[in-house]
């Protein structure tokens, strides 16, 4: 992992760390399943605060780039294939249609989940 920090860029340091890790995941320099260095180690090596690195790692996890395994650390998420990505996009599109159709009659997301569970039970 390679990270450079610019203190004059005006961009928050956690954002700089996050972006550089994202670009290394995207380029394949960091492989799926690979562990990121521990938060404390990264903070020490970069000479920044612990919560700064924690914030970057939390954002990476929230964005789906990484996942955190309790007590083990943070790992690069498995990469979705193009086919998988396409499937999820289509699924999302259809669900969006259903959601807006339901909303017209005042049926919210909670009710939709109930209905899905009902279907599963049949």
């Amino acid at each position: 992992m390679r990270i450079v920090i610019s203190s004059s860029s005006g961009e928050p340091i956690y954002e700089q760390i996050k972006k550089q890790i994202v670009s290394q995941i995207a380029s394949g320099a960091l492989s799926p399943g690979e562990a990121l260095p521990s938060i404390r180690f990264t903070a020490k090596e970069l000479g920044v605060g612990i919560i700064t690195v924690k914030r970057a790692y939390d954002d990476l996890c929230a964005g789906g780039w990484c996942y955190s395994a309790q007590g083990k650390g943070v790992f690069v998420s498995p990469r979705k294939t193009e086919a998988e990505k396409k499937f999820y996009e289509e699924l999302k599109e259809r669900l969006r249609d259903i959601a807006s159709y339901a909303a017209e009659s005042g049926v919210g997301a909670d009710k939709l989940i109930d209905i899905l569970n009902e279907i599963k039970g049949e």
């Binding site: 005006g10 928050p12 956690y14 521990s38 404390r40 180690f41 903070a43 020490k44 000479g47 920044v48 605060g49 612990i50 919560i51 700064t52 914030r55």
Partner: protein
């Protein structure tokens, strides 16, 4: 989890006092204590280290001092504003004394760090420069293998090269997630680098207690050629120069000729202290 829980702490010197101070120091984090001269930083640190009488309560990692005195004293190391051992001694003598006093004293680490910072072992400490004395104090505190490390102005009087080394030493100490650092400083550059939480003291009160990201992101530093009424209402700690105004604000402001930036801890400190002094 809190390394320290300070409740209703009151220290009364007559003309100066800490009154009903409440403060939690988070475990596993670095907390920087800032404040002007006489704000109460050293008094607070001395009180935590039981060198100063006070009323109120302090819990150490959830434990009461009176019930776990030895344990707490072994797990807490402090670098005071001046050396708390005799300057007539030589480091090698002190090392033996520390090793006898603290069961966890790390002699190997001590030798290694003294070699790294070129601190002679056979010379009276009184002959050391102030910077060398400071470094020796920090080394003794680190080698005590504490869980909680408290430092009063650890980097004052130390040149930039050694300061960077000391900051790295402190970050090394923080690799263990059970370790906590509380340090007071005037050198806010060090805070900008490694502090996770910032506590600002002003005349014995907590002016501010916030994590560094939230702190720097909740303020904007604005430079304006003139101060219109709507700006004045939102401005904190206005400083005037011949050519314009500089102030902090919590509100999003924009406009022709305004320079808006994210402030450093030092800039927040200067403007908030200025605002507090006016009140």
């Amino acid at each position: 989890m809190n390394a320290l829980e300070i409740k209703n702490l009151t220290v009364d010197f007559g003309d100066f006092a800490i009154r009903n101070l409440n403060l939690d120091i988070k475990k596993g984090c670095v907390t920087g204590l800032v404040g002007r001269n006489g704000a109460g930083k050293s008094t607070l640190i001395k009180t935590i280290m039981r060198q100063q009488q006070a009323t109120g309560s302090i819990l150490y990692d959830g434990k009461k001092f009176c019930e776990h005195e030895v344990e707490i004293l072994c797990e807490t190391a402090c670098v005071f504003d001046s050396p708390h051992f005799t300057l007539n001694a030589k480091p090698k003598t002190l090392k033996r004394a520390f090793a006898a006093l603290y069961p966890a004293f790390n002699c190997d680490m001590y030798d290694e760090l003294c070699a790294k910072f070129a601190l002679p072992q056979d010379k009276r400490i009184s002959k050391f420069s102030l910077g060398m004395q400071r470094k020796l104090c920090i080394i003794f505190a680190l080698c005590q293998s504490p869980e909680l490390l408290i430092l009063d102005e650890p980097t004052s009087g130390i040149d930039p090269v050694d300061r960077a080394e000391i900051v790295t030493l402190l970050q090394n100490f923080m690799l263990d997630e059970n370790h906590t650092i509380l340090f007071s400083t005037h050198i806010t550059e060090d805070l900008d680098k490694i502090a996770d939480y910032i506590v600002m003291l002003d005349r014995g009160r907590v002016l501010l207690d916030e994590d560094k990201i939230t702190l720097t992101e909740s303020y904007r530093l604005v430079q304006a050629p003139e101060l219109k009424e709507e700006l004045r209402a939102a401005a904190i700690g206005i400083r005037e120069s011949a050519f314009g105004y500089t102030f902090l604000t919590r509100l999003p402001v924009e406009g022709e000729g305004l320079a808006v930036t994210t402030p450093t801890v030092e800039q927040i400190f200067i403007h908030l202290s200025g605002e507090a002094a006016q009140r």
